[in-house]
Symmetry: C2
Subunit: 440 residues, 2 copies
């Protein structure tokens, strides 16, 4: 063993990996988010980790940060393979999936997807090269009721509020409002304005004013109107600021009406959970109506949005000759987890899922202890039988090291009863029946 | 929409993808297996999808079927990256993980891992290029009690028996028995003999006899002794065939004793669940003691073993200067699922996880219906609110199309009560309280 060659492994930058007790928390988060998604009737799909490069390219230019995969050595006769690449998000694979299986799906199609994605960016805290995203989308054929625009913030709120990282607020706008105003103002380069307004969170209204002023196509009056629009906020309990927006054209009016519909459908949530905020833009021109961003109110360490999304006009036009409008949200799980972990805000879970350690009194008692463990297991508990007959102290020690809350002491002689000890309180129950006893 | 260019996607051979109702079954399988693993106290870890190629190569030659990944375009200044490849199993990443995090783990370390793996093999039914495996291993430092050799078959039995694919049998042997006999017989090329014996399931004892006879190092008497040993089988209820094995040396005796210990520890399982079968070899010389194979007794379509594993002398010698013996099993989930699906043996799950569809009586009734849906959801049910006020018949139709078992009919006027309809039986309950009613 002494002179063998050893390759000492190191972490690979951008590919996070957790110790078991941290992974337990990540797993609990993912279980919770999945439960919430399913509680609203979203069904799971999982696509392969790879797509044909042509699929990723169908939209136009392909990102150079995409990872392509290739066999270390190709067989000489293996010419069949199209070039494959790891997907960098779940939207492109989902669009491809809907187009490919169109005839077998039921619409409106509500799906969730929680997979790893890969992007060869320069790694930093909160920006990994391999990362989980948790997405839901609803897709309709030709049209999709506004009902789903109103469902998204409720799902996003339930999903994030249950993670135990403080208060979350879903901020909502409708891009039709600002786009309608820019139409009315005769501003051609709408993308420029929305890109600048998108920075308001970082640089404030005056910063945005300065940036807009650099473009001489935009008059000062126009800037005033833009800024007074995008600084409007309204809670569901008081929609007045929104009701008093002056709508100059149909697009603006439609935007305000849609936003009001969404807000009114969210009255059952805590008031603080929802905020209409007309500065919410969500970068991409992909979004055509309602847009969302989720903010953590009690985690100043996490400066960006936990997730967001919006309404889009057509999911899969590049793959199928159907008009498939949709609305969706995405939670950047690994990003959030990584940043909070870096700041020591991720509580470690238990090192082991074991609820009860059954002691092994002696080799002679093995069969009986095995049956006790199996009985507790059948009753829904996670149970380990200690792996050798050792001193009681050593067996107890193992439970402590592994954060196992209960130790079960089976009879060491025929006369003794079963006993159970709560390792957290030290309390011991002296005569206990394994077919009745419950975890507390 | 008519003259746009459309890229029509096709399935990628070897990368399985399921419709939602089939994915629901795969997900239910994975949930069940995870629950069983945790019920025995195994903790989850997840490693990145990639390893540095040097890690994969640390054992010696690297498989040409490995997929390497590479950015589509590398930045000119990006020289830091080691060459990365997708892992082809979970054993190598696990070994690397244990070496890397050695000081932070608690031993004996019991972990489970259920991830995708990639191997660029020629795809066929039951052999995918991207596939899930479900693995557990226990690792000790310097030694590992035989207790864990006995735990593996119980876990494997519980995991597979709960999938609803008929009876499963875990066949067990101990390689020390056959290796001890070959030692005694003075046969040098032990790997040749074990490789031939490994074929017994396919070609029968006479086939193996013929293959062994081709090697003139092996006498006919030796072949007789080998064949009479490897055709021994014993159920836990009758260990006589095993007790009467003539042990010619310490290695054989140790092998028989270990196997007897394992079988005696499995008395709490149904007798048919376990079979000692001395022909079980598990190809690799990696295994040093107990070996397992799981067979489906009621699925003749699935000819191979669902999973297997065994005891090994050292997990991570190539990465760390420690002696880490272990024992583990692996269930080839995608392989099994793919073959059974191909033969129509995978029952489709529901198209949607929704338990209850709450009807939307009218736009005026939206807030009240939303609250009813939220209440049912808080009480643990998966609930959709219908997405527009449409004819009752159309709303019911949606529940039918999506296999939703219950339709909730909230009051259409103030005087009416809540009603609920079981869509499977047609039965309707006329006056029902959403804060009390339960799914059945």
């Amino acid at each position: 063993m002494t002179d063998r060659k050893i390759y000492k492994p190191k972490p690979v930058s951008g590919f996070p990996e957790w110790l078991p007790e941290i992974r337990a928390t990540e797993q609990a988060w993912m279980d919770h988010i999945r439960r919430v998604f399913e509680s609203y009737g979203y069904t799971n799909i999982e696509t392969p980790s790879v797509e044909v490069l042509d699929v990723l390219a169908a939209k136009g230019e392909v990102d150079k940060e995409i990872y392509v995969i290739e066999r270390l050595q190709k067989d000489a006769d293996d010419k069949s393979d199209a070039r494959l690449a790891l997907h960098f998000d779940q939207t492109v694979p989902f669009a491809r999936y809907v187009a490919q299986h169109f005839g077998s799906l039921t619409f409106p199609f509500k799906r969730y997807q929680m997979q790893k994605n890969w992007r060869g960016e320069r790694p930093q805290i909160g920006r990994a090269r391999e990362f989980y995203q948790c997405d839901i989308d609803v897709i309709g054929i030709d049209n999709l009721p506004l009902h789903f625009d109103a469902e998204m913030p409720a799902v996003m709120f339930d999903a994030i509020a249950g993670l135990g990282i403080g208060r979350v607020q879903i901020r909502i706008s409708n891009r039709k409002i600002i786009l309608g105003l820019l139409e009315h103002l005769g501003i051609e380069d709408k993308s420029f304005v929305t890109r600048m307004v998108d920075k308001i969170d970082k640089i404030g209204p005056n910063g945005v004013r300065a940036l807009l002023a650099e473009n001489n196509q935009i008059t000062e009056t126009a800037i005033d109107q833009i800024l007074s629009l995008v600084t409007i906020q309204a809670a569901p309990s008081n929609l007045d600021p929104l009701l008093s927006v002056k709508t100059h054209n149909d697009l603006m009016k439609q935007g305000v009406d849609e936003l009001l519909f969404v807000l009114k459908s969210l009255m059952h949530l805590p008031d603080e959970a929802i905020l209409a905020d007309l500065s919410i833009i969500r970068g991409f021109d992909y979004y055509t109506g309602t847009v969302y961003e989720a903010k953590l109110l009690d985690m100043p360490e996490f400066t960006r949005s936990v997730g967001g999304g919006g309404r889009y006009a057509d999911l899969a036009g590049q793959y199928i000759n159907k008009n498939l409008p949709g609305v969706g949200i995405s939670i950047g799980l690994t990003c959030l987890f990584d940043v909070l972990h870096h700041h020591g805000k991720i509580p470690a879970g238990r090192k082991s899922p074991t609820d009860v350690l059954v002691l092994l009194p002696s080799e002679e008692g093995r069969d009986s202890a095995t049956r006790t463990a199996a009985l507790l297991r059948r009753r829904g508990m996670n149970v380990e039988l200690f792996h050798k007959s050792a001193k009681i102290g050593d067996q107890m020690q193992y439970a402590n090291k592994k954060d196992i809350p209960y130790v079960w002491i089976p009879p060491f002689t025929d006369e003794e009863p079963h006993k159970v000890k709560d390792m957290r309180t030290g309390e011991q129950i002296e005569d206990v029946d394994p077919s009745i006893w419950m975890l507390t």
